[in-house]
């Protein structure tokens, strides 16, 4: 069982959305290029085609111009994800960063082997405030299983390059449940990560996603060890909470306000926007946008994307309408991943009251008071409820 507290004890209530909901304050930019494709990855990535980096950045900038009307004058967050954004030709990356709108939080994803002191300085110079570093594991043999190029020393070295360049908000990605990973390997990984004192940690269980090379090679083994892996998640949470991190989202941890010298809120503001159901615009191939009750996904194919934007046309998109009921369902699904309570009034009608009572009895969910203006209070999951979040959410939805 996981001990309390779970990081911050004073969890602030869910913030209300800004009133002008149709003006988007969160921008995602997809940079698909990678040196090679890791076996477990199912993101939209492009390997090779170095010659097309410039054309791709041109296209991104064209798409940004076409969509600029959707964006608020001042953005809260910008997030450059991939792919490997830091694998993009430095000159092109620089051109992109120079034109992208400024924001309170600008995050770039990076792979350790791509981070040099020059790159760190480039990012810093162009207003990047946060870097998310894909460490995954510090065990050389497990990095090999994941097809990762970097070695454990690359991870550490890149981390210090970023610190030296002045980054005071660095996140590390860790993956657990790698075929062959023993509990002691996981414990050692966490200690290595903690030794770097990152502001933020994302810990993911390796998902064998259908269709990946990895699932083909290791799927059977992953299924076999599924039950043994159940305890891994618990031990990750336990250890990080004990080290002063706040488990603010199912897979995300940040140094708690009290533990951070400046009392900063170190949660990923960009990702919080997703979990709070805010609108966001995504640029680039395979990028998803959700704006005003509609969701669309841009074509994942590079050719048609570039061709359309060369002619200043919007690229092909797959559209998904989101009726009110679906939006409420998603708010429950996403909101319950967070440690901040979800005001019941905002998801009225989406909850199964009988299931809620049952889950309360089982100690998996609880209603907490929210003050006089929120008669129904807010819903939150207990630590155990969060470990069982998908099943609990499936029960809770009416």
């Amino acid at each position: 069982m996981i001990p309390r507290p779970f990081g911050s004890e004073q969890v602030p209530a869910f913030e209300e959305s800004p009133s002008d909901a149709l003006v988007v304050r969160h921008l995602y930019v997809h940079l698909p290029f990678c040196a090679h494709r890791c076996g477990y990855c199912d993101f939209v990535t492009v390997v090779g085609r170095r010659g097309q980096h410039a054309a791709y950045v041109d296209a991104l900038l064209a798409e940004l111009e076409l969509e600029r009307g959707l964006l608020a004058p001042e953005l809260e967050t910008v997030f450059l994800g991939g792919g490997t954004p830091t694998f993009t030709e430095p000159r092109e990356l620089e051109r992109l960063l120079a034109v992208l709108p400024d924001a309170a939080e600008v995050t770039v994803e990076a792979n350790p082997e791509t981070v040099t002191s020059a790159l760190a300085a480039l990012l810093r110079r162009h207003g990047v405030s946060r870097v998310s570093l894909g460490a995954q594991t510090f065990r050389p043999e497990l990095l090999g299983v994941l097809d990762r190029v970097a070695g454990p020393d690359d991870v550490r070295r890149s981390f210090y390059h970023l610190r030296d360049a002045g980054f005071d908000n660095i996140s590390l990605d860790l993956i657990y449940g790698i075929p062959g990973q023993r509990p002691s390997d996981l414990a050692a990984d966490i200690e290595e990560a903690l030794a770097l004192r990152p502001e933020h940690l994302s810990c993911y269980e390796l998902e064998a996603k259908p269709g990946t090379r990895f699932t083909h090679a290791h799927g059977e083994e992953l299924r076999r060890q599924a039950e043994a892996l159940e305890g891994y998640f618990e031990s990750v949470v336990e250890r990080l909470v004990a080290a002063g991190y706040r488990w603010y989202e199912t897979a995300n941890f940040c140094r708690a306000a009290l533990a951070d010298a400046d009392g900063r809120d170190l949660r990923s503001r960009h990702n919080l926007a997703y979990w709070r159901g805010r609108d966001y615009l995504g640029l680039g191939i395979g990028a998803v946008s959700t704006i005003g009750g509609e969701r669309w996904r841009t074509t994942p194919r590079l050719g048609p994307y570039l061709a359309a934007l060369r002619e200043d046309r919007l690229p092909p998109r797959e559209l998904e309408p989101l009726p009110e009921s679906v939006q409420r369902e998603e708010r429950v699904m996403l909101g319950l991943r967070l440690d901040e309570p979800l005001p019941v009034a905002t998801v009225a009608g989406a909850l199964d009251e009988k299931a809620l009572a049952r889950l309360e009895r089982l100690g998996l969910a609880q209603l907490v008071p929210l003050g006089p203006q929120h008669a129904r209070g807010a819903l939150t999951l207990t630590p155990r409820g969060r470990l069982l979040g998908d099943a609990v959410t499936a029960d809770l939805l009416a």
Binding site: Y28, S202, C203, Y204, E205, E207, L229, E230, G231, F233, E234, T250, A251, N271, Y274, W275, Y280, G282, G286, A287, V288, T290, R295, R297, E320, V326, E329, E330, M333, L334, R337, R358, L362, L364, R386, L387, L388, G389, D390, A391, V392, T393, A394, D395, L397
Partner: protein
Amino acid sequence: MDLGRIRNFSIIAHIDHGKSTLADRILELTKTVSGREMRAQVLDTMELERERGITIKAQAVRVNWKDNELNLIDTPGHVDFTYEVSRSLQACEGAVLVVDAAQGVEAQTVANAYLAIENNLEIVPVVNKIDLPQADPDGAAAELAELVGGKQEDVLRISAKTGEGVAEVLDAIVERIHSPSGEPAAASRALVFDSSYDQYRGVVAFVRMVDGAFAAGEPLQAMAQGTRFEAEEVGFFSPTMKAAETLGAGEVGYVITGLKDVSRLRVGDTLTSERKPAAEPLPGYKDVKPMVFAGLFPTDSDDYPDLRDALERLKLNDAALFYEPETSQALGFGFRCGFLGLLHMEIVRERLEREFDLDLLVTAPNVAYRVLERNGEWLEVHNPAEMPRELDAVEEPYVRASIIVPKDYVGPVMELNNDRRGRFDHMEYLSPERVLLAYELPLAEIVLDYYDQLKSRTRGYASFDYDVAGFREGALARVDILIGDEPVDALSMIVHRDAAYARGKALVERLRKEIPRQYFDVAVQAAIGSRVIARETVKAKRKDVLAKCYGGDISRKRKLLEKQKAGKRRMKQVGAVEVPQEAFLAVLNLNDGKK
């Protein structure tokens, strides 16, 4: 019609040995139906009968052959309908016994032949399918002659498919089978050998007039049940209904009763005229009782009223079908249904699913038990969950089973029968190669998967038949299953004490695999009374959440969640535990692992 020119006969055969094809050829050859009207197997009217090649309801057709009136009484071809077969045979003076030249005599052939001999019928033995390349007409004829105690040269050899030898069969019927005896002037008596239900005309009784005659409009009475009605119409089939003024002694035909419920006129009863009632009914009436029971539940509880209507309608045409409402805390509202046997159950279930488009969950079948309660009273129990926990004695039905196998498979069959608490009775060599094994077995031991086991242990060569021999006391125990301390009525079973531990253990192991892990540990236990005989634990799950969910993952994740939600909706709630419907059928497949 002059009694001397009437012949009443049946065709009896094992499934697929060609009974219906022979009947079709007879209809053609006697010009009862024109070639244009002819469609294969005219007599099997129900879709299901045609598809499975089984005749469920007997019918009677009048044909003319060389100035004789021949009444062909079609009989059901399966063990479950033995009583109907015996009534049909009682309406005849003779039977054409058909055996496939490639298959030889089968268990059902033997059972039907004995039935015919018991009814004093003249038997016309016929070897069919002589046109098949693998046919062994001599071997089949030898077996057949041995069986009926006749001469091999009296066995006719035909191909119903090509028509070869069919005229000779008709001649033999006229020559060998004697004409009906009966008293045209006596008080009227007619045997009801079958009935069917017509939506517009009510119950139609198929009768064999023994004495006297019936006329249209005559008030009649069913002697055993006391049901009274007026004969709205009398007539015969040729092959469709043809009204007649009267139905005379020795003839076979129908009476339209106008009754709205088949259960008011049972097969085997005797009809007589109210104007001049007979003193004694014809012998042999027996109230057939269902021996095999199962719960039928709609998969979707909203379909309950539809299931009730469907059963009502089936019952109109199937007096042997029994049903009563049943409530299971696990499966909701449904019906406990009684059947003559397994095939009958299978047919009812298929008709419900096919003709009425219902999605059903059928519980493991069980037999009827007779229980001597502590207060000295006997109780009949149709559902293991109703078996009193305190009792003085339990009796279960036994059957006389005949199994015919090639001699090499005698060992495996004996082994199976020993496992199933069988008592060996005797063994006969039908030919140097083929052996008939006679056993007494508890019906409970054959309702689950006996037939499948028999087939798999004999590579499909065994043929099997049984009839109910009566109730015997047994050392039986009621085993209850508890999921999370809640007893699950639908999983209770009654088993022999010696097998209780093994069966209980196998069932809880099976259930542990079928029940998905929950938020808490779930104990699955088998118990006799308060004594737990087996226990397994479904461990609580510790983690059920997908690791990452960002802007591009939301739709996929929501769809997964909706799928998970839909999966939960299909679960049945047992106390606080969610149990998939398939788990309730675990008991059906308990022996899977042994195969």
